[in-house]
């Protein structure tokens, strides 16, 4: 008992009672986050698998749909997300150095970029709505040969980008929490685990988009 009391008595910031020391806690958090990201890879993997199957079944139909994708907005959003990954890295870097103002500045920048992405995504969804490209009874497609097959592509488009956008929204919520925590001086150079973990999450969500953009927008576009 005396042993464990002694360990607990040393107050390390953010250390929870069931861990021996901060190093063990950081190991656990990091591994836990990576395992969580593995589950996310499998989650999106199911949809990428379905995409692969249908693309190989209906290559012409899938190629024809890319003419209705807004490549300009997609490309801008790709740039926005890559830049937001950079600002997220800078936020983690600032946390390592214990620079509170810089943490908040970079987190806010990341948050703004995330919101820019979501706004542009909304514009795109609205275009699809206007063009009757939402799967369902109201779906219309210009090329009568591919009505059903194109609907599957748009189904996957909305499922994949929708799930991605949902992850972005969660990310925006997490960034807001981080900003509040940073403003309350919760992070020090010795303990900034949440910034690092949510950074990992943010990069993961960005990488998903890096795969979505070419698959949904670019393949077959020049034809």
């Amino acid at each position: 008992m005396a042993d464990s009391d002694a360990t607990m008595a040393v107050h390390e910031p953010g250390l929870r009672h069931h861990f021996d020391d901060s190093a063990q806690q950081l190991d656990s958090s990091t591994l836990g986050m990576w395992v969580f990201l593995v589950t996310e890879v499998m989650f999106f993997g199911g949809m990428f698998g379905a995409y692969t199957v249908y693309r190989s079944m209906y290559p012409e139909a899938f190629a024809s749909t890319s003419h209705f994708m807004n490549v300009t907005i997609g490309a801008i959003n790709t740039g926005v997300l890559i830049f937001s990954s950079f600002t997220m890295v800078m936020a983690v870097r600032s946390a390592q150095l214990g620079q509170k103002k810089a943490i908040i500045a970079f987190l806010v920048l990341t948050l703004i970029l995330g919101c820019v992405f979501l706004t542009l995504k909304y514009v795109e969804y609205h275009e699809k709505w206007v063009d009757h490209h939402i799967p369902g009874p109201g779906f219309q497609y210009q090329d009568p040969r591919y009505v059903h097959q194109a609907q599957i592509l748009f189904f996957l488009y909305f499922a994949m980008t929708g799930m991605h956008a949902l992850h972005m929204i969660v990310g925006v919520g997490l960034l807001t929490t981080l900003i509040v925590m940073a403003a309350r001086n919760r992070f020090t150079a010795a303990w900034y685990t949440p910034v690092e973990m949510i950074g990992l999450y943010w990069h993961f969500v960005d990488i998903v988009w890096i795969f979505l953009f070419p698959l949904l927008y670019l393949i077959g576009h020049t034809k």
Binding site: H17, F19, S28, V35, T39, M42, G46, Q151, I152, A159
Partner: protein, 544 residues
């Protein structure tokens, strides 16, 4: 009842049960042992709900004409399957015994993420309530497999609500797996090397890998299914260009590995019980440990054997058939090693050991008939017959539920601090064994003779075997009720358990008080010997 004198309490040390009694101390607890008990009570409730559906099915099959309308029967077998698979079998051992024991066995004060552990229980309950709501609203009739396009387009029952319940409960399973993986990697006590980990922990590590890698795929599959149903747009419906076989691939990519979620923890329990009651170290520790991982890995590569008659390419089927045979190798290694452990051991016949015997025999039958089903030509004959039903009930009920009951008895003194009545327990184990075999062995014959699964009616010549099966089911039900009664009694009134009633090896018996205090150990546990060192001389274990 006379008043209890204060002196009677002098011996009680603070433990996880008596630190606090308020309802808040249970519903907001982050103690893995209390969460294990929350799970224990909730999955027991779901077990009886699922069991009630089974009772209705067996009553229906008592006569060739049946009792219920066809639509009702479709709902009965669907809800039996969904409740038993997703709300009982998947969480059964990992979320109760695993939750209670994994941290203690590795020498940690709690799981790595105690609040996530509590969250997983709440997700389980939310998912369960959603599924129960769907049942109360009128149920679902797709079969537990949710096959499209019936589920996505044609069924007029509560598919989306049920799928949502399964989806939410899936995240509870993912979080449990994540917690175990991290705990086993980062929270082991000094001296607890990977090669000294109890096989219980190895089994749960393998289970966790499947939970983490497989469950997200069923989650997204159910999302796609729900979207198709809501939007009325085809993705799995062949009428509009979709591919229903893709649904089956995605579904079984999780659900075949998931049957290993439903057996590996059972094997983990049996490894502990067999070595303890043989008073002998496990035969071939490394092989048993690695075979768990091998089952988890190979288990991800065999899902196609559910699609032999679904229009899957013949060449794919051949590969899946071969890989399915491969899974038999690590499974057989376990069975051989358990028997070799007993060979020349000092075997005694306490209740947990009786369940272990039952497990080994019944799992072997269930496993070997699995090989029949992995053989493409035989599978064509017995696909969707009672042969399949009997096969997987031998593994799931004869295997997993036996192991679960064995484990509950083995660790009951640890969990409750009391002993259960050995005579009643042995009697119940016997009743369960007899009832189980009478229920499911006739189903092998029925299936081989061609009785299809999921039908409310059957030709009169199958009646004798069906009556035997129903009679067995009633015996089995009694066998499950008896432990409920005496365990509830023993929890209050049973004789106090010593710290290590079985003289078993392992941190949970040797270095943690019974019942354990909130942080599991009074001193930092240190491991100085290999696992299951039953034959070794008494080691100098510091108990202070």
């Amino acid at each position: 009842m006379s008043t209890i004198l204060p002196s009677a309490k002098t011996e009680t040390r603070p433990n996880y049960l008596n630190v606090d009694y308020g309802w808040k101390s249970w519903l907001f607890t982050t103690d893995h042992k209390r969460i294990a008990l929350l799970y224990l009570f909730s999955i027991t409730a779901f077990f009886f709900v699922g069991g009630a559906f089974a009772v209705c099915m067996r009553l229906n099959l008592l006569t060739p004409e049946g009792l219920f309308a066809h639509d009702t029967y479709n709902k009965l077998f669907t809800m039996h399957g969904i409740i038993m698979v997703f709300f009982f079998l998947v969480p059964s051992i990992p979320a109760t015994l695993g939750n209670f024991l994994v941290p203690i066995m590795v020498g940690a004060r709690d799981l790595a993420f105690p609040r996530i552990n509590l969250l997983s229980w709440y997700l389980y309950i939310i998912g369960g309530v959603i599924a129960l709501t769907a049942i109360v609203q009128g149920g679902v009739d797709t079969g537990w497999t949710f096959y499209a396009p019936f589920s996505s387009t044609y069924s007029n029952t509560h598919v989306i609500l049920t799928a949502l319940g399964v989806f939410v409960a899936g995240f509870s399973s993912i979080l449990t797996g994540l917690n175990f993986i991290v705990t086993i990697h980062t929270m082991r006590a000094p001296g607890m090397t990977w090669s000294r980990l109890p096989l219980f922990v190895w089994g749960h590590y393998a289970t966790s890998l499947i939970q983490v890698l497989g469950t997200p795929v069923i989650a997204i599959t159910l999302v796609l299914l729900g979207l198709e149903r809501i939007l009325h747009a085809g993705i799995f419906d062949p009428a509009v260009g979709g591919d229903p076989v893709l649904f089956q691939h995605l579904f079984w990519f999780y659900s075949h590995p998931a049957v290993y979620i439903m057996i590996l923890p059972g094997m983990a329990v049996i490894s502990e019980v067999v070595t303890c009651f043989s008073r002998k170290a496990i035969f071939g520790y490394t092989f048993v440990a690695i075979s768990s991982i091998a089952i988890a890995v190979l288990g991800f590569l065999v899902w196609g054997h559910h699609l032999f008659v679904a229009g899957q390419s013949m060449y794919a089927s051949m590969v899946f058939s071969f890989l399915s045979f491969m899974v038999a190798v690590p499974s057989a290694i376990k069975v051989f090693n358990w028997t070799a452990t007993m060979y020349k051991g000092s075997v005694s016949y306490e209740t947990p050991m009786l369940y272990a015997f039952g497990f080994i025999g019944l799992f072997t039958i269930g496993g070997l008939t699995g090989l029949f089903l992995a053989t493409m030509a035989i599978d064509v004959h017995v696909t969707d017959t009672y042969f399949v039903i009997a096969h997987f009930h031998y593994v799931m009920v004869g295997g997993m539920v036996m192991a679960y009951l064995g484990g509950i008895h083995f660790w009951f003194p640890k969990i409750s601090g009391r002993m259960y009545p050995e005579g009643w327990a042995k009697f119940a184990a016997l009743v369960v064994f007899v009832g189980f075999n009478l229920t499911f062995f006739p189903q092998f014959i029925l299936g081989y003779q061609g009785m299809p699964r999921r039908y409310a009616h059957y030709p009169p010549e199958f009646q004798v075997l069906n009556v035997m099966s129903t009679a067995g089911a009633s015996i089995l039900a009694v066998g499950y009720l008896i432990p409920m009664i005496y365990l509830a009694w023993a929890w209050r009134k049973g004789p106090k358990a010593p710290q290590n009633p079985w003289n078993a090896k392992g941190l949970e018996w040797e270095q943690s008080p019974t019942p354990p205090p909130t942080f599991n150990f009074e001193h930092q546990p240190v491991v100085t010997e290999p696992a299951y060192n039953y034959s070794g001389e008494e080691q100098e274990v510091e108990l202070g």
